[in-house]
Amino acid sequence: MNELANFRTGRLPYYLLITGVLFLLAGSYAGLFVAPPEQYMGQVQRIMYVHVPTAWNWMLGVIFALVSAIVFLINGNYKWDARLEGALEVSTLFAFLLCCQGSIWAKPTWGVWWDWDPRLTSVAVLLFAFLGIVALRNFVDDPARRAVWSAVATIIASVDLPIVYYSVKWWNSLHQQQSSPATVSNQYYFPLRVNAFGMLFLLSAFIMLRSRVASMRLRDELAGPETI
């Protein structure tokens, strides 16, 4: 199908990758060695310089997945299905990363590996939801059905995210003694911002490249023995 024909060209993702890695190296260096330890949390605070950017970019990934799903359902252009596939996988990756980082942060801070923080718990729920959608995509062979179903499932899961967040927040507030992981509380925003952009470049590059992989497969599937 012609709509996928010009999907695979362009070196932009590669430039984004390189820029992203450079930014991350700079931001992480600053976060690890330049920024001073925080008043109460000591060195552990440094995890925030990588955790918060991951969180922001995960959110962006989910939003892009939702947008791709909606646009595909409206105009049926498989470019958007390819993008959805990319966004789903990369968002799942970032969600997984978030849960691990959050867990590593929680152990020295609260003494447990998981403290049911509403934000992190919502991420975990959406991680499973997206994993389910990725599994769904793997089990459906017909590209048209796969596209429509995963778009529908993505919309439903995304709509659920705020509901999950509030329900966990209320559920946890009955027991919660401590507040959620603090955002960066000192004036050293440099590592945070640089890492945020670095991750953004990586996120975009990953989604672009993964969408390319998807479009290549879609072209083969759609160019079957059908007449256009």
Binding site: L136, F139, V140, I156, I163, W171
Partner: protein, 218 residues
Amino acid sequence: MLTALHKELLLQWRSRAQFLAVLVFGAAALLLFSFAIGPDAQALRTFSAGFLWLGLLLSSTLTLAESFHAEMENQALEGLLLLPANPRAIYYGKAIANWLQLALIGVSLVPVMVVLYDAGTTRIASLIGVILLGTAGLSAPGTLYGAMTAQIRSRQTLLPLLLFPLIVPALLASVKATSLVILGDPMGQSRSWILLLAAFDAIYWSLCGMMFGRVVDE
């Protein structure tokens, strides 16, 4: 839509042996939970609401998968859609039928819960109300995903995989509300949980109804 509902209920009545099987499954689950926890009466009573809803959730995977079985057997799904009936009507017919069946299982499991976990309560009406709201939350997305997964292979694993993360808010709210009914609600918290459940139901009954047409479209 009423004809769709009527047909669904008729189907369910005809397969009431299946219903009994699911009920026994649910009761067995509740029994297993008590073995997993041990004979600690206090703990069992405290968590009885959680066990009830977990048992109900597990049973729902059987019920929901079953609800499209009849259509899939005879390619009847395409036949249904060829009728001049709105797919939305079909959806709501099925969803309501599933809801009623799940609610019935829930209510039937209450005596099991009372016996196994010493979790009796006099506020029967509230309990039934929570069960109705909670099972409605399970049925709406469950019917949609049931329709999807019925049409592909590996449906048994995929349905819970897709459904469970989604209904977390409904599960949380149902368990909390039920727990408050059984154990007492000194601070009047149940209202917010009921509202959450109602909101969840409203959102998903409309959203899934809208999407159903696309999901069974050929």
